[in-house]
């Protein structure tokens, strides 16, 4: 880390290395492979493995942010990460439901993305791709349904229905973002709701 780093240059506490490791081992478990084989298939550009890896990265990031026990209410993932179509340069489409979309939330999410993107590039030896690993839409809880109406590309014209990765209160999941809550470590079962 930068010596005497001023604010803005202090990285998130996100345990980046641990999250990458957890994601690799989760993918290995779900695919009945060794972690080394998973890394080799990631390097080879295997789309199914890249999708699965992204799904698990998103899930572990969701768990980390949820454990902060402030603001975050739910995390959803959609797009190529659950459609088995991810390229090595693909990002992970995520919707985060929060109590209040304050600037500290936006800053933290940017820093989490930067840390994860940096580690991901280094893990696979990419110099520039992906530009950003997490494409996170922040939705205030009270405006969740309205937001969903505004984002046709996400909520109406989805190739894949968003999957809930984590939520703080299963009973309060509102709007039309409902998916199958996956709070366990169960492996995702194929592309969800392909169109």
């Amino acid at each position: 880390m930068l010596v005497e780093a001023p604010s803005g240059f202090v990285p998130t506490d996100l345990p980046t290395r641990g999250i990458l490791h957890a994601a690799v081992t989760s993918v290995a478990r779900c695919n009945d492979a060794t972690p080394q084989a998973v890394l080799a298939r990631l390097e080879a550009g295997d789309k199914a493995i890249h999708s699965s890896f992204r799904y698990w990265l998103a899930k572990h990031v969701a768990a980390y942010l949820g454990e902060l026990d402030v603001v975050f209410r739910a995390f959803y993932v959609y797009g190529s990460a659950i459609g088995f179509e991810a390229n090595p340069a693909s990002d992970i489409d995520v919707i985060v439901v929060v109590d209040r979309a304050c600037d500290e939330v936006k800053n933290l999410i940017r820093q989490v993305d930067l840390a994860l993107t940096t580690a991901f590039r280094r893990l696979l030896g990419f110099s520039r791709d992906p530009i950003s690993l997490l494409d996170i839409g922040i939705v205030e809880r009270t405006r969740q349904a309205e937001h969903c109406m505004d984002r046709d590309g996400v909520c109406r014209g989805l190739h894949t229905r968003p999957i809930c990765l984590w939520r703080s209160d299963p009973g309060s999941n509102g709007g039309s973002l409902t998916g199958s809550p996956r709070q366990s470590n169960a492996c995702p079962q194929g592309p969800v709701s392909p169109r």
């Binding site: 880390m1 780093a5 933290l108 280094r122």
Partner: protein, 434 residues
């Protein structure tokens, strides 16, 4: 076994996940943009430094061998005035680090509204490996190599990590020989005898005090008896603690690398400072003060106090301890003591965090005063420096506070917005040359 191997493999590949500081600075800028109306074209200008100079620095070691080091000087933006920023000697110095810090200095000078742009410099080296004469040769070579860029009206360096008044004295002397005339305003942070400013030594800690007083007033917290905990007892922490004590606050906890001490009735700061002056290594270790107990540094951060001043290292308040922080106000005397995760937690708890870019700006404001005195050839009394410092920082706090209220954002983001928008306005007013 497979899991352990995978962990090792991943660890080997990604190392310590060093994030590029320049990318971090661009993230800051992008966040500011969400809250401001800066035109696209100006935004593009703000995302790039004006000038980046890389220099090779051969020096002859005392044993006769020659080593070559790499140095940098970056002028991020000069729309508001000559570039201003320190020079650091550290093995981790990179071009992107210097670019990022030069950008940060640009916003910092603008937040406190002094007529400077931002710059930064550094040499990638381990200064602990040098004798004094080797360090002098390296400094003078660096000064000569960046001389085409620096100047009283162009770019004014200052001390930073592992550099000090002596290093600045060597730079100004080298510049004088190259210019053929006296150029005291080419750097700040010089020795008093070389044109340094009275009050410079205390300026950062004094600035922390001014900002703390201003925040307490805004929050309606009585200064008389307000409780203060200070982490770090160096140049910033000890002076802020002494000045707040003199102003009527009750300093109930202090710490340094040797330990932390809690005195609920409040320390007699004069006695503490006298103790530290004569103690081995000028440390708090062994401090014996009536009603004092030794606590951990971690405990100090979570004391039930009105004001917590982290004035030691970066990343002290994290997601692990932010929930336990009970202070009503945090004034960041050090650079970056709060992680982004902790910032969110503290914000949700209603803790007022005064960001480093404002709270510890007393140093650069006093550098500005030194520069003004050098240009005027008219040294000020220390009292004049202190009074003007107070006025500038209180005004900056007022402006940041108002902007935070107006935009409904944290003081940290408000400070960045204020700084970046001021630079953007200056760029717009100048227009784009040619």
């Amino acid at each position: 076994m497979a899991t352990q191997n995978a962990a090792r493999l991943i660890s080997d590949r990604i190392g310590d996940v060093e994030i590029n500081p320049y990318e971090m600075m661009l993230q800051q800028l992008d966040l500011v943009r969400e809250y401001s109306d800066i035109p696209e074209g100006i935004w593009r200008i703000l995302r790039h430094p004006e000038r980046t100079l890389e220099v090779s620095l051969p020096i002859t070691r005392d044993d006769g061998s020659i080593e070559v080091f790499t140095g940098y000087r970056v002028q991020y933006n000069s729309a508001r005035g000559p570039c201003k920023g320190g020079i650091r000697f550290h093995p981790g110095v990179t071009e992107d680090e210097v670019k990022a810090l030069a950008g940060w200095m640009t916003w910092k000078c603008a937040v406190v509204n002094i007529p400077y742009g931002g710059g930064k410099g550094g040499i990638s080296c381990d200064p602990t490996r040098f004798t004094t004469s080797e360090l002098e040769r390296l400094t003078r070579r660096y000064a000569a190599m960046i001389y085409p860029l620096i100047g009283t009206r162009r770019d004014v360096p200052a001390p930073d990590v592992n550099t000090n008044a002596q290093v600045m004295n060597w730079i100004v002397d080298t510049a004088q020989f190259m210019a053929g005339e006296s150029v005291p305003g080419i750097v700040t942070g010089k020795s008093i005898e070389m044109g340094g400013a009275l009050g410079r030594h205390e300026a950062t800690g004094r600035g922390v005090m001014f900002v703390t007083l201003g925040v307490l007033q805004r929050l309606g917290i009585e200064l008389d008896g307000a409780t203060v905990a200070v982490q770090g007892f160096g140049n910033v922490g000890s002076i802020a603690a002494r000045l707040l004590h003199e102003a009527g606050a009750r300093v109930v906890a202090i710490s340094d690398v040797s330990g932390a001490f809690h005195c609920p009735s409040g320390f007699d700061m004069e006695a503490v400072l006298n103790y530290v002056k004569d103690s081995p290594g000028h440390l708090l270790a062994g401090l014996s003060h009536p009603g004092t107990e030794e606590i951990s540094n971690e405990d100090l951060l979570t004391l039930d106090v009105d004001v917590l001043i982290p004035a030691a290292l970066e990343a002290q308040i994290t997601s692990r301890n932010a929930n336990d922080v009970r202070a009503r106000v945090i004034v960041e005397g050090a650079n970056g003591p709060t992680t982004p995760d902790a910032d969110l937690i503290l914000g949700e708890k209603g803790v007022v965090v005064v960001p480093d870019i404002l709270a510890n700006a007393g140093g650069v404001v006093c550098s500005y005063f030194e520069w003004v005195q050098n240009i005027q050839c008219f040294p000020w009394e220390e009292e004049a420096t202190n009074q003007r410092l107070g006025r500038i920082l209180q005004r900056a706090l007022r402006e940041v506070w108002s902007l935070a209220e107006e935009k409904g954002v944290s003081l940290r983001l408000a400070a960045f917005i204020l700084g970046v928008e001021r630079v953007a306005t200056a760029i717009q007013l100048r227009g784009v040359f040619p």
